[in-house]
């Protein structure tokens, strides 16, 4: 079944000096599925994300991305902006990183930078205002409009992103990531700071992205209602290693996972579970 995996993380290592943040982590994310990466604070989830999205260069191991057309890309060899440009991996940030002084629409236009650069003939054709560029720009605006509509922010398109409420900013950041037309969307705690209604809306949005766009999603999340409701596969980390993986149901009942979250020994957790049943 390895052909179905869009992302394969193979014995990933990340050291910061003497600290091993991620230790021989291996997992895979299936194509057109939602994979959740969970774990207690400081487990190394965001470090894994930063390795996948090129913000860190891993100390060891391999990260392979298999595209629909059969291309396989070694992500650990790419860095920086190339991950998004060539490998088509988009990400959002734990603490939202929009362009606050630009409008919501402009934020989505910046996300289409590479496509628009090509259409504008590396600026030269655009400077002359050729019709081909105007059409491309109009298409980009239409794509942005579509996504603004999807995240129900169409009426706030011309407002500065920094002026939007927190929940709207979260959704706008997802829309912005989707405007890069990614194969894999990496979300770092998309539900953090959202109320119950907003996180319900987020679930619908993520499911619709998976079902309609066919984008594979990898997400880090603390909000278990989100994880349990939408993820197809859950990977649990603690202290930089994988301690469990499986369906949401299987993970929820795993004593190791409960132990990690409660900060207790495994035996104690089993004892607690058995006394409960």
């Amino acid at each position: 079944m390895s052909g179905d995996h869009i992302l394969t993380v193979d014995r990933l290592m990340m050291r910061f000096g003497g600290i091993v943040a991620v230790n021989e982590l291996s997992f895979a994310a299936e194509r057109r599925k939602i994979t959740a990466l969970i774990g207690p604070n400081g487990a190394g989830k965001t470090t894994v994300f930063n390795c996948i999205t090129g913000f860190y260069r891993p100390s060891g191991g391999a990260i392979r991305l298999a595209h629909d057309d059969g291309r396989t890309i070694q992500l650990e060899r790419l860095n920086d902006f190339r991950i998004s440009k060539q490998a088509k991996v988009a990400r959002t940030f734990q603490n939202i990183r929009l362009f606050p002084g630009m409008t919501a629409l402009e934020n989505l236009m910046v996300a289409q930078h590479n496509a628009l650069m090509r259409a504008s003939g590396l600026t030269l054709l655009g400077l002359l205002g050729l019709p081909s560029w105007r059409e491309a720009e109009q298409r980009a605006i239409e794509l942005a409009r579509t996504w603004l509509n999807r995240v129900s922010l169409l009426d706030r398109a011309d407002d500065a992103a920094g002026n939007l409420p927190y929940g709207d900013q979260r959704r706008l950041e997802i829309a912005r990531a989707m405007c890069t037309e990614p194969a894999l969307l990496c979300l770092d705690e998309p539900a953090a700071g959202l109320n119950a209604r907003e996180s319900g809306g987020l679930n619908e949005l993520l499911l619709s992205i998976r079902n309609e766009q066919g984008t594979s999603i990898l997400l880090i999340e603390h909000d278990m209602s989100v994880v349990m409701e939408i993820s197809d596969h859950v990977v649990v980390m603690d202290y930089g290693v994988k301690i469990a993986e499986g369906t949401p149901q299987a993970v929820r009942d795993d004593p190791k996972v409960i132990a990690a979250y409660l900060g207790a020994d495994e035996e104690e957790a089993i004892a607690v579970m058995e006394s409960g049943t």
Binding site: P100, M102, V110, H113, T123, G126, L127, T180
Partner: protein
Amino acid sequence: MSANSARPSPAAQPSGSAFILKKALISALVALVLFSLMIGVRTEAGPQGGLIYWTRFGDLAALVGAVFGGSIIVELLRQWWGPVDKDSIVPKPVQSAISFAGRWLAPALLVFAFLVPVIFYNQRYILDLSILVLTYVMLGWGLNVVVGLAGLLDLGYVAFYAVGAYSYALLATNFGLSFWVCLPLAGILAAFWGVLLGFPVLRLRGDYLAIVTLAFGEIIRLVIINWQSLTGGPNGVSGIPRPTMFGIPLTPGDDGLAARLGIEFSPTHRLVFLFYLILAMALLTNWVTIRLRRLPIGRAWEALREDEVACRALGINTTTTKLTAFATGAMFGGFAGAFFATRQGFISPESFTFQESALVLAIVVLGGMGSQLGVALAALAMIGGFELFRGFDQYRMLVFGIAMVLLMIWRPRGLIGHRAPTVFLERNQAISSDLVKEGHG
């Protein structure tokens, strides 16, 4: 005043004469401590080489008294003014008047600029001054790309101005190339040096970037001074050819423009020509910048200013984005430099000191970073205003400094502080400067 009294009363703010007196006393005390040594005691080397001193307690008392009185006046004014926040500083009617004026200011200025040579045809001084102002408008617009849009603090902008000026001067005097051939060459060479500066500073931010660009400006100047065989060193380059109107020289000779048109020769013709030349070049800079802002590269510059990490996550090559910003800004600086050389006919390293960089940067910052109209207004105020204060003689710098401080208190984000979006669906509304980042580099 009515708007202020309608506001929830400033009950929390202590008022009354006791408070004012206390505040004034504290100010006076601070002034006493500060000035007691600076003014109260004066020392000088005596005739025998020993140190002699005498006291000036009268002057000191006058100054402390002035601070005391001034402090009371300031405090009274402040209470009359109401609580200090953005709304109360500029009353509503004034704000709406400003926004109305703002809409018509740019076209009005443009029309006025076109008419300057007509109105002031016989006033050589004003024509000269307006050419100088336009040169700084162009420099300001060029630097605005780097500082205002891309958010990269560049303290060495004068280097590109120098590269442009020397490119034209040397190419014209050594190889006899015409101004119109040298102008693009000067731009290309300056852009090349912009990229060269860009490479080492790609990873630098903020203060570090400022220091390296400052050093770059000084390096270029020192190289020009010391490379005597090429640049003539401190003596500069003289005899730089004047520009021709597409091959027709503006001279009194038989082949000159005046003779061909059959009108009487006047040296003002050249001034008028230079005026329209720099106006056209400045407007080209403006047009290209406005155009670029609406292109992906311009949006990437602004996005870079807002958040570099997010840019990288969106697949934007921050290296080339920064380098193109440096190159574009430098290119306009190079054009302006070539114009400067042909206008002066003589250039020397003295024209390209750090003070020029600081002046152009001040124009960009005062104008409101990223605002084209603001930069033009600031250049007019800084260069033209500086001339206005010529009568103040030695107090000119003082008045100028006070004016700048006041402006920064009232409009901390420059004359035009808000940002206009580059694209909109329904409403084209300006973005408040509170949200727009200044860039970290």
